[in-house]
């Protein structure tokens, strides 16, 4: 059995530190997802109406986000704002801002898509039955749109969790940074620590994302 460098995880508080690092990453993605989803619902509903300026805003915003890599957007926020406006944002703050903006645009698009996927006849029938516009929206459109929306929103959260791993490159001390510190500190005692520690992180990310992917798939199947 070759030395896989796993023993380093049992030393001192190393495993707890890794988990703390994972929590830093998850916290960034969950805060951003929450902001993005709430703002995205608002933007999506506003953009769903015909001839709304919000439709143009959403379209332009989405184009930027679809073309530019998240890493570039993080760089622009982290380095660009200090140069342009004199803001000195921390890496974590830059990440939350970028991911929230991303989440808002994608969620907005999902909401708009889900609402417009409800057949027009549903709205017309509800109106013919004498429901008020607000009632039509709350009682008829939303419940149908939500079924389509929830699996897609879960997917968005999963993608955010995966993308948060990038924040180590703008200096946030999250799980990959903690891993580097642990490996560096144990260079002599466990020269193979890099294998065990990075494998552990690999598994941790899988365990964080897999249940969400599964839930999204199940819900999609269940509600079809």
């Amino acid at each position: 059995m070759p030395d896989l460098g796993l023993e380093v995880l049992l030393k001192g508080k190393n495993f707890i530190r890794l988990l703390e690092g994972l929590w830093t990453a998850l916290r960034i993605s969950l805060v951003s997802a929450l902001i993005g989803i709430l703002a995205g619902i608002l933007l999506g509903v506003l953009a769903g109406r015909k001839k709304s300026v919000f439709r143009g805003i959403l379209g332009g915003w989405l184009a930027v986000i679809h073309i530019m890599p998240q890493m570039v957007l993080l760089f622009l926020m982290y380095f660009g704002t200090s140069r342009a406006f004199g803001w000195y944002l921390s890496g974590e703050m830059s990440a939350v801002i970028v991911f929230s903006l991303w989440g808002t645009a994608e969620m907005g698009d999902l909401v708009r898509g889900a609402v417009s996927s409800v057949p027009v006849i549903q709205r017309e029938s509800a109106e013919a039955l004498g429901l008020k516009p607000a009632q039509v929206y709350l009682l008829i459109i939303l419940p149908q749109a939500v079924r389509r929306l929830i699996p897609q929103a879960i997917n968005l959260i999963t993608r955010m969790i995966k993308t948060t791993s990038l924040v180590t490159l703008i200096g946030v001390v999250e799980i990959l940074k903690v891993a580097q510190q642990i490996i560096e500190a144990n260079r002599r005692a466990s020269p193979n620590a890099a294998f065990g520690v990075y494998l552990t992180i690999f598994v941790m990310y899988y365990l964080a994302c897999r249940p969400l992917t599964l839930a999204s798939k199940q819900l999609e199947k269940h509600w079809r």
Partner: protein
């Protein structure tokens, strides 16, 4: 904005963009090959291999590329598998992309009626011939939009390659900012270079999607 500096730095970014393009294209091609193979295995229901392919798809899709790269570049050498940065980047992209491509091709192949395959077989085609000449051409039309989306996604994912010391666009921009504090110029060049690479891909994707919608394939 210091245009003299931009002119001076331009070759550096050109070199970096070429690296991004080269590694990206190689990774995407490999990913497509892996995806095709994976989808064929899932279609043919090869007993044990099918399980392995399904597990691979889940693992590659549920972990970030950066973590995959760290494991390949820093972890694997400890058990004797050493790669140079460029090979590592391409391998990582192929590992990640293979999962996404398998899904894209699988859904396309699934959309082809089983009857098509059975008819081809009853006409005397071998299973291999039926797959290449009958199933794939029809599946390609259905898979094309997802395939293009994956190509763009994977090209964007190359932006983490600087983490395994590849001198790509991100690396160059960060380096230049660190060396000369030319933040505005560096960011402009960075965004410009990515636009040059990604805008044509994105437009191609849109055109393809529109064409296919008119062709009435799919659904």
């Amino acid at each position: 904005m210091d245009w003299a500096y931009i002119g001076q730095a331009l070759p550096l970014y050109g070199k970096a963009a070429w690296l991004t393009l080269r590694t990206g294209a190689a990774g995407i091609l490999l990913a497509a090959a892996v995806g095709l193979l994976g989808a064929a295995v899932l279609r043919r229901r090869v007993p044990v291999v099918r399980r392995i392919v399904s597990a691979y798809v889940e693992v590659s899709r549920n972990t970030p590329l950066l973590v995959q790269l760290f494991f390949i570049y820093y972890g694997l050498p400890k058990i004797g598998i050493r790669t140079d940065p460029e090979v590592c980047g391409i391998a990582g992209l192929a590992f990640l992309g293979g999962g996404y491509m398998t899904e894209a091709f699988r859904s396309g192949i699934e959309a082809v009626d089983r009857l098509q395959e059975e008819s081809a077989l009853s006409l005397g085609l071998t299973p291999g011939q039926a797959f290449v000449h009958v199933i794939l051409p029809q599946a390609a039309a259905v898979s094309a939009p997802a395939f293009m989306a994956n190509v763009i996604f994977l090209m964007k994912e190359t932006s983490v390659f600087s983490a395994v010391s590849l001198m790509d666009l991100m690396f160059t921009a960060k380096d230049q900012i660190g060396l000369y504090y030319r933040t505005a110029e560096s960011l402009l060049l960075l965004v410009g270079a990515y636009l040059l690479i990604l805008l044509p891909l994105s437009l191609m994707g849109h055109t393809l999607e529109r064409r296919l919608r008119h062709a009435g394939f799919g659904t």
